[in-house]
């Protein structure tokens, strides 16, 4: 640790500390405060004083306590060993902290983010004399059974490899190569890991078009409001509407290679839930535990508020690092409102002029900066990788007109609004089909048509139209009762109820229903639409709704989400064939 004293404490107000007598400090420098070495970050400089936000509880910090500089910005360590680890908001491994501390998180603990003793099997891919530039792949480490960790040249370095170690076991501290730098002609050791400042976006070659969906296995999302790989989503919802459930379901089943799950200002038990549940769940694509592709970042609501502000950046920087290796990464941020509130609290303590509801005026800029770090990119090494961001928003009182929801809406392209009434009726996922939207429909339409359903656009449009007609009809029903409607219109209500029960509702605790492949989704939607098309024709021919509902096949359609496994969809073809037959019989009987 640096012993360079950059100043002394002048004033303490919660996590915000004013420092006086500043000599040679830099903006966003990582600092240590007081005799307990609390971690902080320098966020404002003015002549001879500075403001530091401290990432730990500041009880006991007094004026004239020393502040030490570190000569580097708040950074994360990027290298093998991050997968399956749970970190706090400034990348300290919580399991290691527990081993050296006790059940509580003590202050001033310094532990390396990556295990310094663990040896990794490194296979070099470049030779002595190779010309390399930032982001290029030096070699590989098999981090988990299914994840090859590619060791990258730090993005800002380039030069000629003067020497490189042979294949073998190395720790993240061992120099694996010597780089003769282009710029300075000096030599520089390269390691399995490198550091990167969390507030700085990692460079890429260019942004690419987003035309592949991120498959989540959640029917309402994939079929009605899909998100592209590299896309941005916001999930707003009041408490108890299932934000965390939705986030966890996506973290479990989406087809990303790496998941970064940021528990930002949420409940401790939710993190424990993920920690106990994920290792037991099996990833359907790899057959391995889900934990083997997951990184957790936990700043629970009782942990220091300033680290909450940093946790979002810590998470997305890690995600960018895996993207730079050519992977598809999904970031779950639960919840960005807590992050915004942390900004507000710190801003208030710095006595900045507030804008709406006490939030600082730079809130929208910060939100935009964060979401813009998502994208489908060509990496510096010429591969394709993506970072998709799914951010939960917790609007006060469930009111979407508040600043965080509104500003977030400006910078995302997919909106999954959670609905209180649906949640109260225990309709999960409680994503409203009326308020939600996705701007990725056209981008990923051709992928859907090729992969699952050539008629996807039309069928999706058809069911959406029915859902909207149902709302208008429901208004009539509320006034006069359903009996007043003719059967043709009541049948719309009937089909929508069927669609909600048999398709939109998805039981996260049912082994089969928790996840649906897009092929299953396409087929299920098609069957419901067959029921609608044939049924409405039948009604025109004078068949009553009671007759339709009495068909035996109806119950099979209701239960198909539970009964037909993802691996074998032939059952759905049978249901469709039987449905057509039953309709034929009904019409024949009636005629």
């Amino acid at each position: 640790m640096s012993e360079r004293i950059i100043g002394k404490v002048k004033r303490v107000n919660g996590p915000v500390i004013e420092v006086m007598g500043i000599t040679n400090a830099e903006m966003f420098e990582l600092v240590r405060v007081g005799n307990e070495n609390l971690i902080g970050e320098l966020i404002k400089l003015q002549t001879d004083s500075a403001i530091v936000q401290v990432y730990e509880d500041t009880t006991g910090v007094a004026p004239y306590d020393p502040v030490y500089g570190s000569s580097m910005q708040l950074s994360v360590e990027l290298g093998p060993g991050m997968i399956s680890t749970i970190y706090d908001g400034i990348q300290r491994p919580l399991k290691t902290i527990r081993d050296i501390s006790d059940i509580y998180i003590k202050r001033g603990i310094t532990v390396p983010s990556l295990d310094r003793n663990k040896k990794w099997h490194f296979t070099p891919l470049v030779k002595q004399g190779s010309k390399v530039s930032g982001g290029m792949i030096l070699g590989t480490v098999q981090e988990t059974q299914n994840l090859v960790h590619k060791i990258l040249v730090p993005p800002k370095d380039s030069g000629v490899i003067a020497s490189i170690v042979p294949e073998g076991e190395y720790t993240v501290d061992d120099a694996i190569a010597v780089l003769k730098e282009n710029k300075t002609q000096g030599s520089k050791n390269l390691f399995l890991m490198h550091k990167w400042p969390i507030r700085l976006q990692r460079p890429t070659n260019k942004r690419l078009a987003m035309n592949i969906p991120l498959i989540t296995g959640q029917r309402i999302i994939d079929t009605l409001f899909p998100v592209a790989k590299g896309g941005t989503v916001s999930i707003p919802g009041g408490f108890g509407t299932g934000k965390t459930m939705a986030q966890q379901a996506i973290a479990k089943w989406c087809d990303a290679d790496v998941i970064v799950y940021i528990g930002c200002g949420e409940r401790g038990n939710e993190i424990t839930d993920v920690l106990t549940e994920f290792p037991k769940l099996v990833d359907p694509r790899t057959g391995r535990s889900l934990m083997e592709r997951t990184i957790l970042i936990a700043n629970t609501s009782n942990m220091p508020v300033s680290a909450r502000e940093a946790s979002i950046y810590t998470g997305i920087t890690m995600a960018e690092y895996f993207r730079d290796q050519g992977y598809h990464v999904a970031v779950m941020a639960d919840s960005t409102s807590r992050w915004a509130e942390a900004l507000r609290e710190l801003s208030g303590r710095m006595e900045e002029m507030p804008a709406e509801e006490g939030f600082p005026a730079y809130l929208p800029t910060k939100i935009a900066e964060f979401y813009e770090r998502a994208g489908y990119m060509e990496t510096l090494s010429g591969q394709n990788g993506s970072v998709s961001v799914i951010g939960a928003v917790s609007p006060p009182g469930g009111d979407f007109s508040e600043p965080v929801t509104q500003h977030t809406k400006r910078f995302i392209r997919c909106f999954w609004a959670l609905d209180r009434d649906l949640a109260n009726a225990r309709h999960y996922p409680a994503i409203s089909w009326l308020d939600s939207y996705s701007e990725y429909l056209n981008d990923i339409g051709s992928w859907w048509q090729q992969s699952a359903n050539p008629d996807w656009f039309n069928e999706r449009a058809e069911i959406m139209e029915l859902l909207h007609r149902e709302v208008r009809l429901q208004q009539v029903v509320k006034l006069v009762g359903p009996d007043a409607l003719p059967d043709t219109q009541r049948f719309i209500l009937e089909v929508c109820t069927l669609f909600k029960n048999a398709f939109l509702q998805q039981n996260a605790y049912d082994k089969v229903d928790t996840f649906s492949t897009i092929q299953k989704q396409a087929k299920m939607l098609h069957i419901i639409l067959v029921y609608w098309r044939r049924g409405s024709e039948a009604i025109k021919k004078g068949i009553t709704m009671v007759n339709l509902r009495k068909m035996k096949i109806y119950q099979d359609v209701v239960r198909m989400k539970f009964t037909i496994p993802n691996e074998d969809l032939s059952g759905l073809d049978k249901i469709e064939a039987r449905l057509e037959r039953s309709m034929d019989q009904l019409e024949a009987l009636h005629a």
Binding site: K10, R11, V12, G14, E18, D57, T58, T59, G60, V61, A62, P63, Y64, D65, L94, K95, I97, R98, I103, Y104, I105, K106, F239, G240, G263, G265, R267, G268, N269, I271, T272, D273, L275, T276, A298, S301, N302, M303, P304, R338, E341, R344, E345, G348, E351, E357, G358, S394, P396, G397, G398, D399, N424, A425, R426, K478, L479, V480, G481, D483
Partner: protein, 466 residues
């Protein structure tokens, strides 16, 4: 160690440099370097000591809040000492059966509390990796809770109530009846009263006395006529004792805190006096973090036998659930039990609203081996049916009950049965989980079997028919 001596000496130093007194805040100038959140002692003209805590410290001025209030303090005659330590309380198992004020000082006339163990009341954040995910069912003997919003050991489940609703009765009943099946670990109740009236405190004391559990109850009372600032520390002293009992003495602790609304009001008061930028309705922006610091102290820890189950009570101002206090609480707690005034008016006790009430930990604590195998589906079906009842009632109020379809009439009947038989019970009535579930099936029988979408055929055969 000259440094330690120095600290010791400094803690004896008295300052008479109080510069300003505003509400419960005192501003002291020209002190030695004082640590953030240090405990202070304010000595007034008569020599009485009042405790306080440092809220802000700088080279020139220290701002501290005085828990016992500032009335009677004068600028020239007030002396201040800084202890050099944060506020601690001495804890021991002997505190059960006694009554304390909000700062943990005995007010029952008994001997002063002595213990070698002094703990910082602010506590520390539990490392999420050392938590144990709670999944043990607590039987409260109250159908609507056990059946529909199951309480789990280590859960934080608030009661969202309103003025004049029987939240105190329900909390007392839970404290009296709560049972963990097949467990012999000791159970203790720690009770915090913040700004409640004397007679409510007496109601709880008497109710604990009558049920013979008073020996296992520690009460921390900061009543309505005590200085409002004391309420800010009351839940912290309470939870510090609870942590000690749970994680050092292996006890299962039920913490009841009433009324969180008063706590939040005090927080707002201090924030306003300090001139902080308010967020919603004048509450400080850190209300969420502050409440989380309290609520998150509940739970279970791996390798420890004890647990802290938290039952905060808050009265929703004007019955508005979107008010910042219930709203922020709901974001932190693991569910909520919401009271409905309309049900209370119809004489239903407990008046627990069916739809907005929720227990998030229920899913992992019920079913086969924990309650009974039919519990998850039964609860889900009751919710679904009751939610439809609400729609039917709305419709009936527009078109009249006569115009309803026969099926909808059955739903109306189900709604009445559900509220009268299942939800409603006496204040001394204790139903075990089997009775509760059987009652659930009984009321479901008013619906035809085709309507039970969420129940498997086996369950229908075994329970619905019988």
């Amino acid at each position: 160690m000259p440094d330690l001596n120095n600290k010791h000496l400094l803690s004896r130093r008295e300052y008479i440099s109080v510069d300003k007194i505003e509400g419960p805040l005192v501003f002291i100038r020209n002190t030695h370097p004082v640590g953030y959140r240090e405990l202070i002692e304010c000595i007034d003209k008569q020599g009485n000591v009042r405790l306080g805590i440092v809220l802000e410290t700088s080279v020139s001025t220290v701002v501290a809040q005085v828990f016992e209030g500032t009335s009677g303090l004068t600028l020239p005659d007030t002396r201040v000492r800084f202890s050099g330590e944060p506020l601690t309380i001495a804890v021991s198992k002997e505190m059960l059966g006694r009554v304390f004020n909000g700062l943990g000082q005995p007010i029952d006339g008994g001997p002063p509390q002595r213990s070698d163990i002094e703990l910082d009341v602010n506590g520390m954040a539990i490392n999420p990796t050392s938590r144990q995910y709670p999944r043990d069912f607590i039987q409260t003997g109250i159908s609507v809770i056990d059946g529909m919003n199951t309480l789990i050991r280590g859960q934080k489940l608030p009661i969202f109530s309103g003025n004049g609703l029987p939240h105190n009765e329900l909390a007392a009943q839970i404290a009296k009846q709560a049972k963990i099946r097949g467990s012999d670990t000791e159970v203790a109740v720690v009770f915090a009263a913040m700004g409640v009236k004397h007679d409510i405190a007496r109601f709880f004391t008497r109710s604990f006395e009558q049920s013979g559990v008073l020996g296992n109850v520690a009460l921390f009372l900061s009543l309505a006529d005590d200085p409002s600032i004391e309420r800010l520390i009351t839940p912290r002293t309470t939870l510090t004792l609870a942590e000690y009992l749970a994680f050092k003495q292996d006890m299962h602790v039920l913490v009841i805190m009433t009324d969180m609304t008063n706590y939040c009001e005090s927080l707002r008061e201090i924030s306003t006096i300090r001139g902080e930028i308010p967020s919603r309705k004048g509450y400080p922006g850190y209300l969420y973090s502050d409440l989380a610091e309290l609520y998150e102290r509940s739970g279970m820890i791996k390798g420890y036998k004890g647990s802290i189950t938290l039952l905060p009570i808050l009265t929703m101002p004007n019955d508005d659930i979107s008010h910042p206090i219930p709203d922020l609480s709901g974001y932190i707690t693991e569910g909520q039990i919401v009271f409905e005034r309309e049900m209370d008016g119809r004489g239903i006790y407990p008046p627990v609203a069916g739809l907005p009430s929720l227990s998030r930990l229920m899913k992992d604590g019920i079913g086969k081996g924990m309650t009974r195998e039919d519990h998850p589906h039964l609860a889900s079906q009751l919710f679904a049916a009751y939610s439809y009842v609400k729609d039917v009632r709305n419709l009936a109020s527009v078109i009249g009950e006569e115009e309803l379809t026969p099926l909808d009439c059955k739903y109306l009947e189900f709604g009445t049965q559900f509220e009268q038989k299942f939800v409603s019970q006496r204040q001394d009535e204790q139903r075990n989980i089997e009775q509760t579930l059987d009652l659930g099936w009984e009321v479901l029988r008013s619906l035809p079997v085709e309507e039970l979408h969420r129940i498997t055929e086996q369950e229908i055969e075994k329970y619905y028919g019988g």
